[in-house]
Amino acid sequence: MSHIHQLLLAGSDEDVVASVVPFVLEGRSAGEPTLLSLPSPTAVAVRELVGTYAGLTVLATELTGRRPGTDLARFQALVQESMAAGTRVRVVNQIPPTLYRDWYQWRRYEAAVNVVHAHLNAWGLCVYDARRLSPGMVEDLQATHPFTGRGIDRRTNPQYQEPRAFCDAHFDAPPDPVEQTQPAVELLDPSPAAARAAVRDLAGHRAGLTDDNVEALVLAAHEALANAWIHGRPPVVVRAWAPPGRVLVTVTDTGRGPQDSFLGLLHSPDHQGMWISHQLVDVAHCRHAGGYTTRLTAPASQSLP
């Protein structure tokens, strides 16, 4: 029983289908449940070729609020459910290219999968469309997958890096351009209640986010502020912006920032605040000359799952 985390770099949709079909069929004959999370044209093509059977589950891919934290938790739950039968579970997952925008999050996700899902008896095939990837992105993927290969043809990947070392080196997210602009909210050493009220006012009243997203952002900002108070160094500054389509909150203290580069991705009893933030909003970490910043972003239109 082991976890196999494999990268499939495909050159076209036909390429995806040609690689995934034998992978699914082999699973079917071995009696291994298979979870298929592919964009719908590809998923339809695969299903036409493999047929419909009890062990095959086709998952929706374009979920709103899909982010590394939710994906890690969701796939863990789905695999554990399928593992109940006692056999290995196969997973085919293609992250929708629209999410590549936040690549800094997804490369940490791919590294964290090796740790978070290590206890699962699963063979995961991560499908990426090579046409949509820059050379740097391909490098990140090579560094985070211990195996590569076209489906059932699996090879050990010599470029794979130890996940914690990779996450340490790739912990910091680039700043969001909007951080260069004048914030709508700027609070120096605010009380948690004052910070929550300011975020609630900006996100709810002025930016018009859904109630769910407002409260998600309020909780995430609060937890980041609580972390800054407990683990960071004062002064603590809370800033917020409401550009079209989203609301961003940054919490900056002058400390060195967290030492655990898996922070928020691994479910640990000591870091539940950061973990829950990763379930609710987009979280970016940045250690810089002035200290440490946590950036939290909630979308204006989507509601949470």
Binding site: P192, A193, D211, D212, A216, A226, W229, G273, I276
Partner: protein, 270 residues
């Protein structure tokens, strides 16, 4: 028994500043005057009575008139705390024709006169008096709430709940209501409130927490909710969380608080 005001019954006020204390005390006094009750307050030795007169004024009554009609009495701790003294005060108020009586004192002054055991006994007696509906008591503690076990036990005798800025608890129709916001500033108040709430039900019974007015609770708050009820739940007590607001329900599901032993979530928002 159902209380109709936040200020009725046996309640704790946790305060950080004198201003906070006085603002709350004025509200508590106003409630007594509105109900035609006698209001007994204590002052520290050396503290001028002027402060109480000002609070009377803030509570909407003429301080001089209230003193003359004996509706307000301002006592020194030594006049208030000897054992049996509070019972006498309560009995006298009814003899004087008032419909009820309310008493307020600082925990710190009590502890300068009574042993911790003696104080616990006095608070237990007061909690019994307050159950008849015409006696109320406000016991003021400075914050943070004491975590020292004997004091925590004393705090837990206030079965009608805890009041503090930002967060309060009180006994409602459908269980104990938690109101306001719980964060790292008010989490000690939640602990005190839960101690008091656990005291309202017997061992191996159901403690219903009505969360309909709990607007925010953070991760540390939920951790405290589990910790403060751990002994109760370990002794087969059950904590029922009901009428949870949508965002609070989402947080507690993500943290799997509803899956903790002895915890049940009912009619929470989906």
């Amino acid at each position: 028994m159902t209380r109709t005001s936040l200020w009725d019954g046996h309640v704790v006020l946790l305060y950080e500043s004198e201003q906070e204390h006085d603002d709350n005390l004025a509200g508590w006094m106003r409630r007594g005057f509105e109900r035609g009750e006698k209001v007994v307050v204590t002052r520290l030795p050396g503290e001028p009575e002027g402060r109480m007169l000002r609070l009377c004024h803030e509570a909407g009554v003429d301080p001089v008139q209230a003193r003359l009609s004996r509706q307000v009495e301002c006592l020194l701790p030594a006049q208030f705390y000897p054992p049996q003294r509070q019972e006498e005060l309560i009995a006298r108020a009814f003899v004087e024709g008032f419909s009820g009586v309310r008493l307020s004192a600082h925990a710190s002054t009590a502890l300068s006169l009574l042993s911790e055991r003696g104080y616990l006994a006095a608070e237990q007696a007061m909690d019994r008096h307050c159950r008849n509906g015409s006696v109320s008591a406000l016991c003021a503690y400075t914050r943070p709430a004491p975590s020292y076990q004997p004091l925590r036990e004393t705090l837990a005798t206030h079965s009608d709940g805890v009041r503090a800025v930002g967060f309060s608890s009180w006994r409602g129709e459908d269980g104990v209501l938690l109101c306001g916001e719980v964060d790292l500033v008010t989490v000690d108040v939640l602990a005190a409130a839960l101690d008091a709430a656990v005291g309202t039900v017997g061992t191996a019974e159901e403690l219903v927490l009505d969360l309909s007015r709990l607007d925010f609770i953070d991760v540390a708050g939920f951790r405290m909710l589990l910790r403060a009820t751990a002994d109760f739940r370990a002794a087969d007590g059950r904590v029922v969380l009901q009428r949870t607001q949508r965002s609070v329900a989402r947080t507690l599901r993500l943290l799997e608080v509803d899956r903790a032993p002895g915890v049940r979530l009912v009619d929470g928002a989906s």
